[in-house]
């Protein structure tokens, strides 16, 4: 039956969230002939609705529902109610994302084996490896039009990249280029090429940047088998006496409670909301929350080891012109514990507009020195550190006592930096400064982590049911027709930006679900 679907249609696959994981999975299933309803908490904003203004765009797209924080991380002090900077809108955080699309390295799928026992870390090997993922990475790169793959040329380097490149080469780095980006360097897949607008985080107004909003969802909808229902906030997943899920309860645009029946439910609300939903779906059969017999739901929250370095020069850079993430240094992404930490990190250019610079350069700071730094805005070049952080059992999402407008407990995000994270960040700050110093920076500024843009690990994949929440296909160990389809499945975080891996896993999961449905097993 073609979309839209009836609330009582118990034949549909229901997906919670339309971002990297959910949007890709829904589209791929629909293209395989399966009926899908994606319930998305946010509204639908199209390319022409996007705003080239940081705060206005934030107001339009960001997830602003109240969250709480605890732990020793700097974000809890600087942004106590904004632990994450992600999207609530059709397309999810792929509307905000910068487009960096990197494969994990082989050793990163087996972190426990390769890094050994790390005290205070809950490391585990993924139940899958690079060889198994390679075909799915290849498929995802083609779908997303990643530069430097499939014969697609790299993007041209902007001013910010040229500073990074020159400095990095001067200090001996070799793997420096304009990145593997899901941004068209030439027209492809009915999307135009990059105009170097510079508001990638605000939703690309030229459509050059891949997102589930502009790419996956329209293709799924064209089949007639995908319905994306915006303004639909899922609050609970329901199950029957046999322990199989039967559908979800959600609040619609008017705040009315609705129930959508389902054959299979896939959770893809990003790593804070997905465990929140499972924890809130507790019942007498699942007293600690759905799919939580391991007690791992909500735990092992990872956010990548991050931080920024801004180099201040005596001449203009205008770093905000052109692609936000315009290039990368990959030499430090290896695992080499002689540096004093396990795992590696990438250095990627980043720029913020002036309004966000004011908020994020040194949150809470004031006075003459800060003002003087801001006055150097035009002369700044910037980079962002993204490195592997350690999963920890107590870095976790829990339900707070306070409830939201629908009566659903709001999430608390607890996070303590692991000594490995701190050692890596310090190393990266030093290397970032060395890059800019090498090309004549007057000084460099070490900016603390922004609210988390990469949120991972809270429903992790494990071989054994007691170690994690889902199996190698993202299927819940405890509930056969429940899947997790977003970055919360990550067993460990690796050094790379996560989205290419999320999309690859979603394509692989779609294949798995379709096969199992075909065999009558789901």
């Amino acid at each position: 039956m073609p979309a839209p679907f009836d609330h009582n249609d118990s034949n549909v696959v229901v997906i919670v969230g339309s971002g990297a994981g959910g949007g890709t999975l829904g589209s791929e299933l629909a293209q395989k002939g399966i009926d899908v309803v994606i319930l998305e908490a946010g509204s639908r904003h199209e390319t022409w609705d996007f705003i080239n203004d940081e705060w206005d765009s934030f107001g339009q797209l960001a997830w602003k529902d109240k969250r709480m924080t605890s732990g020793d991380w700097q974000v809890a002090k600087d942004f106590p109610n904004l632990p994450a900077w992600i999207v609530k809108s059709v397309g999810g955080s792929t509307v905000h994302w910068a487009g960096a699309s990197l494969r994990f390295q082989e050793h990163e799928f087996k972190a426990r084996t390769n890094y050994g026992e790390v005290e205070g870390a809950n490391l585990l090997d993924w139940p899958i490896d690079l060889a198994e993922m390679e075909p799915w990475y290849a498929k995802a790169e083609d779908r997303m039009g990643v530069t430097r793959t499939n014969g697609i040329p790299g993007l041209p380097g902007n001013n910010n990249f040229k500073v990074l490149e020159a400095g990095a080469k001067k200090i001996g780095y070799k793997e420096v280029h304009t990145g593997r980006m899901a941004i068209n360097s030439e027209p492809r897949d009915d999307r135009a090429s990059c105009m170097q607008i510079g508001f990638c985080f605000q939703g690309c107004k030229s459509g050059a940047k891949w997102s589930t909003l502009v790419s996956e969802i329209p293709k799924g909808e064209a089949t007639g088998r995908l319905e994306v229902r915006p303004d639909s906030h899922v609050m609970r997943i329901e199950h029957d006496d046999s322990g199989k899920v039967t559908g979800v309860v959600y609040a619609d645009a008017e705040g009315r409670e609705q129930r959508q029946k389902a054959r299979v439910v896939c959770v893809a609300g990003n790593s804070i909301e997905s465990p929140r939903l499972l924890l809130n779906s507790n019942s007498s059969m699942f007293p600690d929350g759905l799919a939580n017999s391991s007690g791992q739901v909500g735990r092992n929250y990872m956010r990548h080891t991050t931080g920024s370095v801004y180099g201040v020069f005596d001449k203009p850079v205008h770093m905000y012109r052109g692609t936000t993430m315009a290039g990368i240094v990959q030499d430090e992404a290896k695992h080499d514990d002689s540096r004093g930490f396990v795992g590696g990190y990438e250095l990627e250019t980043l720029s913020l507009g002036l309004p966000f610079m004011a908020a994020f350069l040194m949150p809470g700071d004031w006075g003459r020195d800060f003002a003087a730094d801001m006055e150097q805005y035009r002369n700044m070049a910037g980079l962002w550190i993204v490195g592997e952080d350690m999963p920890r059992e107590d870095n976790r999402i829990t339900l707070a006592d306070e409830t939201d407008e629908y009566g659903m407990p709001i999430p608390n995000v607890n996070f303590d930096d692991h000594p490995n994270d701190t050692a890596m960040r310090d190393h990266a700050y030093k290397q970032g400064s060395a890059i800019y110093d090498a090309v004549g920076a007057m000084r460099t500024i070490h900016t603390p982590p922004y609210p988390s843009t990469h949120n991972l690990g809270t429903n992790r994949m494990s071989e054994r049911p007691e170690d994690g929440v889902v199996n190698r296909f993202g299927q819940a160990h405890d509930v056969p027709n429940l899947f997790v389809s977003d970055g919360s499945q990550f067993t460990t975080g690796a050094a790379e930006n996560p989205t290419l891996t999320i999309v690859s896993l979603a394509l692989r999961q779609a294949d798995h679900i379709a096969n199992r449905m075909g065999k009558g097993e789901l």
């Binding site: 206005d56 001013n159 203009p316 002036l354 006075g367």
Partner: protein
């Protein structure tokens, strides 16, 4: 780094919600505000209070190139909130009075009349973790730096999609790097 208390958290959330926002700066040669460029603005706070708030705002984020009226625009956001809340109004009035009293005790004049930038900054340092200071400062993050007319001062060009992006407008025009 200054700690936030609950009041500020609430306040910041309010700003984020409305899509408005966070902080900013200023310093005239002497760093003292001149005249009352904001006289035309409707005000709920006492004129002396408003003036203290403008001076405080400039001292938080002192930029010589920025005129007083832009700081006053930011303070006006606080003033506007005080128009509909007696509690807010009392909060601003009481705390400005306290700051003026501290100024009187130390320097014999109101806060906004202390001639030395360092002396004023020293007084602010004493209260930098207070909810009052954090409110005034926090307000400037968006209240000052998000005023588009000020962006050229910093060399930020703002929206670019309507101009066709930077493809032909200097995305790679840097000439001093090799």
């Amino acid at each position: 780094m200054a700690l936030r208390d609950d009041t500020l958290v609430q306040n910041r959330r309010g700003f984020l919600k409305s899509g408005a926002g966070l902080l900013a700066m200023t310093i005239m040669p002497s760093g003292l505000i001149v005249g009352n460029a904001w006289a035309q603005m409707p005000q709920s706070t006492d004129p002396d209070t408003f003036k203290t708030l403008v001076q405080m705002s400039r001292d938080c984020y002192p930029h010589a190139q920025i005129e007083d009226k832009y700081y006053a625009n930011a303070v006006n956001i606080l003033d506007e909130a005080a128009r509909s809340s007696e509690e807010e109004l009392a909060f601003l009035e009481d705390n400005c009075a306290k700051l003026d009293k501290a100024a009187m005790d130390a320097h014999g004049v109101r806060y906004s009349e202390i001639p030395s930038d360092d002396d004023r900054t020293a007084l602010l340092k004493l209260i930098e973790t207070d909810p009052f200071f954090q409110k005034v400062r926090g307000n400037l993050v968006v209240g000052l730096y998000n005023q588009k007319e000020l962006w050229p001062v910093f060399g930020y060009e703002g929206a670019s999609a309507d101009k066709g992006g930077y493809m032909d407008r200097g995305f790679n025009d840097i000439d001093w790097i090799s």
